[in-house]
């Protein structure tokens, strides 16, 4: 029987598990012994459930908030999120695409005053260079 309604996050997680297993396949494995659960395993299990729910629910909540607050801000929101995990090239590409997709055709002055773009450039350490090029 099917276990999820579509190809999604869980598939990617399971692909990751397979890769990790293959990567460490040379490590000698201990015989797995099945024991009854203890209070500690129950606490740890509950912690994992809460953590996974948080990982899935919080980003989806933020995602929805971003779309609802400003209908055109969803792409910029993704760009901003990417910039926060310090991947400058992705962030720069995301800014460019967000500007194009939102079809606002911002002038250099407007871009300079756009708070999202400024925060992105600051986060990628490109702010000074950007000001220099703009001038």
């Amino acid at each position: 029987m099917l276990i999820t309604p579509f190809i999604g996050l869980s598939v990617l997680v399971h692909v990751g598990i397979i890769f990790v297993y293959w990567l460490f396949s040379w490590v000698p494995k201990k015989e797995i012994r099945f024991r009854k659960s203890t209070v500690l395993t129950r606490i740890a299990s509950t912690g994992i459930i809460v953590a996974i729910f948080a990982i899935v629910i919080i980003p989806s909540g933020l995602f929805m908030k971003a779309i609802i607050i400003d209908k055109h801000s969803s792409i910029k929101f993704i760009a901003y999120t990417i910039s926060q995990i310090e991947q400058p090239k992705f962030a720069t590409a995301a800014v460019a695409s967000s500007t194009i997709i939102s079809k606002k055709n911002l002038s250099p002055e407007e871009q300079y005053s756009n708070p999202v773009i400024i925060s992105l450039l600051k986060s990628t350490n490109s702010y000074n260079q950007y000001i220099y090029q703009s001038k």
């Binding site: 029987m1 099917l2 276990i3 999820t4 309604p5 579509f6 190809i7 999604g8 996050l9 869980s10 598939v11 997680v13 399971h14 692909v15 598990i17 397979i18 297993y21 797995i32 099945f34 024991r35 009854k36 659960s37 395993t41 129950r42 740890a44 299990s45 509950t46 994992i48 459930i49 996974i52 729910f53 899935v56 629910i57 989806s60 995602f63 929805m64 779309i67 609802i68 209908k71 969803s74 792409i75």
Partner: protein, 342 residues
């Protein structure tokens, strides 16, 4: 080791003969083949009789109404150490019993989950073949590494008979008995292994109406079993991880894919394009893996089925978990002659 086969049948005239032949044509023969006719009204009894003493066939006095009822009736006739359970619309690959026997050489193994493949017929079975490839070669493979098999497939499972009689039994209180068996095995700390080489070919729904009804049974049964065995989630961290990621993802993203178009159509389109691209990557992989090149085109129909699946997933959640309207009515999809689809 004595290996028995148990196959429940209800109006299976279109597929039964091919199925029995595949069971008889094994490199390592079954020691006992038991077929249970669940009070069929078609030519099933005649087909069973035509195989003479090569198989044992029993007829239930009154239709049991579901697969597990017929299985329970048949279990009393089993004399083997290991029982293979499959369906009457399913063909076993010729090395199936050999593979199963190898796994049971390990005395710690209590059950073996085989691999199910979908017989090719049309775009719906193509999508199902894609789902099976992902579900088994990614999900189940990773689960076997983590030592937590989520579900034993109804069309390709094997159990130690003593263990089954003592600990598993038939409750008939959920509509997906295979998932019920699996949860019970985990709760009793039994070891389940997944064998990628023990392959069966099964017949899946060939029209959308049958597909929807089968998904209702599968997802509805999935929720029923979560409610029934809810305590399993907190017994082991790995179970907590697997079950919470599967169910939370299914629930939250099923809601999201319906909600996003209502808020922002443009962004919904981007989400669908994103899903399409991810599906395409996996479809290319599945096509290479299965050497079934039609799978390259599966992302197109799969985008439609994704919405169908998500809708049924939410519908069954509301019915089974929120309102606790337990549906125990068995659904049997229409059959196609197997010689037409192989």
């Amino acid at each position: 080791m004595k290996i028995s086969l148990l196959v429940p049948c209800f109006n299976e005239e279109k597929s039964l003969e091919a199925s029995i032949k595949s069971c008889l044509n094994q490199t390592r023969k079954f020691d006992e083949l038991i077929f249970i006719d669940d009070f069929s009204s078609d030519k099933t009894p005649e087909i069973l009789a035509s195989f003479g003493d090569r198989i044992k066939a029993y007829r239930v006095p009154k239709n049991t109404g579901n697969k597990s009822g017929a299985q329970e009736f048949g279990f009393q006739f089993i004399t083997g150490d290991v029982v293979v359970t499959t369906d009457a619309d399913t063909l076993l690959k010729s090395n199936f019993v050999e593979e199963i026997e190898n796994d049971f050489q390990n005395p710690n193994v209590a059950a073996v989950a085989g691999t199910v493949k979908s017989m090719p017929y049309n775009w719906i079975t193509l999508c199902r073949a894609f789902e099976y490839t992902i579900g088994q070669y990614i999900h189940k493979l990773a689960q076997s590494y983590m030592n937590y098999i989520f579900v034993m497939p109804g069309a390709a499972s094997a159990f130690r008979v003593d263990m089954f009689r003592k600990y598993i039994t038939f409750d008939h209180d959920t509509i997906t008995e295979d998932l019920d068996f699996t949860y019970k095995l985990h709760l009793k700390q039994f070891k389940i292994v997944y064998n990628r080489q023990a392959i069966t070919y099964t017949q899946d729904p060939t029209n959308l109406s049958d597909y929807i009804n089968q998904m209702r049974r599968w997802f509805g049964g999935g929720w029923q079993n979560v409610v029934k065995h809810h305590s399993i989630i907190t017994t082991k961290p790995i179970r907590a991880f697997e079950l919470s990621i599967l169910y939370s993802e299914g629930l939250i993203f099923s809601i999201l894919i319906f909600l996003i178009p209502l808020i922002n159509l443009w962004f919904a389109l981007l989400v669908i394009i994103g899903f399409f691209q991810i599906t395409l990557i996996f479809a290319i992989w599945a096509a290479i893996k299965e050497k079934r090149w039609k799978l390259l085109f599966v992302p197109f129909p799969y985008m439609i089925l994704m919405y169908v699946n998500a809708y049924i997933y939410l519908e069954q959640f509301v019915k089974e978990v929120v309102f606790r309207r337990k549906n125990l009515v068995w659904f049997k999809p229409g059959r196609v002659f197997i010689n037409k689809i192989t």
